[in-house]
């Protein structure tokens, strides 16, 4: 499936300045692999040593935090994926 990833400004030095990136992936795990392979400098910021999404990285699919989605959630064509480093607020 083709999905669009919104890249926050803090990540753009690792993505050749791109603020959006169209990727083909079936699910979140695949998407993180695609992003990591395409942008090697971004790779260590996506997953920790155990392969889990980093504690301070928030990922949303169409406004929904991925932690609320089914573990085997499969992307639909045109899904919007947003990366937010270190959520603030409170």
């Amino acid at each position: 499936m083709s999905v669009t990833v919104s890249i926050p400004s803090a990540f753009r030095r690792h993505t050749e300045g791109l603020d959006r990136f169209d990727a083909s992936a079936a699910n979140i795990n695949e998407l993180l692999d695609v992003l990591g392979n395409r942008f090697p400098e971004l790779k260590p910021h996506l997953r920790d040593e155990q392969g889990n999404v980093r504690r301070f990285l928030n990922i949303y699919v169409n406004d929904e935090d991925i932690r609320f989605l089914d573990k085997d959630y499969k992307f639909a064509e045109g899904d919007d994926v947003t990366l937010v480093p270190s959520i603030a607020g409170g």
């Binding site: 400004s9 910021h45 301070f56 937010v84 270190s86 959520i87 409170g90």
Partner: protein
Amino acid sequence: MSNQASTKPKPTQFYELRCRECHTPWGNQPISFCQKCFAPLEVVYDWASIKPLISRDEIARRGTTLWRYKELLPLPDEYDASLPVGFTPLVKAANLGDALPGGSARNKSLYLKNDASCFPTLSFKDRVVAVALAQARNFGFEVVSCSSTGNLANAVAAQAARGGFKACVFIPSDLESAKVLGTEVYGAQIVRIAGNYDHVNRLCSQIADKHRWGFVNVNLRPYYAEGSKTVGYEIAEQLGWRLPDNVVVPMAGGSLITKIYKAFKELVELGLVEAKNVKFFGAQATGCSPISTAVKAGRNEIQPQKPATIARSLAIGNPADGFYAARTIASTGGWAEDASDPEIVDGIALLAETEGIFTETAGGVTVASARKLYAQGRIKPEETTVLCITGNGLKTTDALVGRYEASEPIAPKLAALEEYLEQKLVGVYEAFGEARAGARGGVL
């Protein structure tokens, strides 16, 4: 150039931002997370330089506001300390102590830190905003903003009005009307978002990423959060420069509990209080309890929740400092509890009926959770315990709808009153009758 000009005091900023995880220093700038590893930032201080500047006597000579701890806060050299924020009462709560499990008030040492009376907008958020706006001016922001569950919007709007900032605040669409009105009245622009606080918060992170606005709890957050430390400084000073055994703190984003912990640690480091192993207890609403759930499960990692509670000021399902709050609680030997909506309302009523303090839903959460902690024996009656009451009940009267019935009016005649008392208030009538007889006896 004259000698006098060259001897002008140099700026004295003994603080800077540092990453909480990789410890990279970032100087002073409006950013909230590490540009290297993307973990949150916090303010660190040069205590060796600060220590000679502050003492108990020096603090005692200063005005009773949070500015009395100015060296311990990340304030620019030029800031407006004229707003009398903070230094709220620490109230001995003998009646509440009597009503809580674990024995009578006689052997309880229970206190309330009452920020329901904080100036100017009746919540502890006045503290954090005071510090954040000092830095907003320092960094040259003209527009200040926030994502808010209500109290923060009130504080930003009020202090922005006084400070000459434009304010634009973002709130979930279901906030209590008093909190919305209490923002609009100051002339702030309100943007209501169709979603919960976590939706609002994420949007604000994206706006702050794109526009040069001073979001107090996004790009100014490391400075803003330091304002919460003043709750801890005040508790220690008001207890006679000693630390309590326990504190019970409501948790939304989880920042306040970590900052009170930080405040106590700093006071020890500065030699202003003796070291003590204070236990930190967190309180959440059952309908939004990501932190207390983690604590009860023995982990620090937070699983976000979708909030469903009347305690809207605590309704943050993805708490920014949840991990650090859970870690603080566990590392101090504390615990976390949560309260259902009916328990929250009972907590509000109990505090009002015993201590004459009307708190908002967050305070109801704190009181209800404290009741459980006493009942479980996690808090011992003889230990000095402080409950943090962080907001005012006049802002969340919606939560009490249905609990109190409006009485029928009666004619302005003594006979009508006598009849009313006989019918409706038998116990009061008897007491009234006894008092009346007693008074008569006294006269005769």
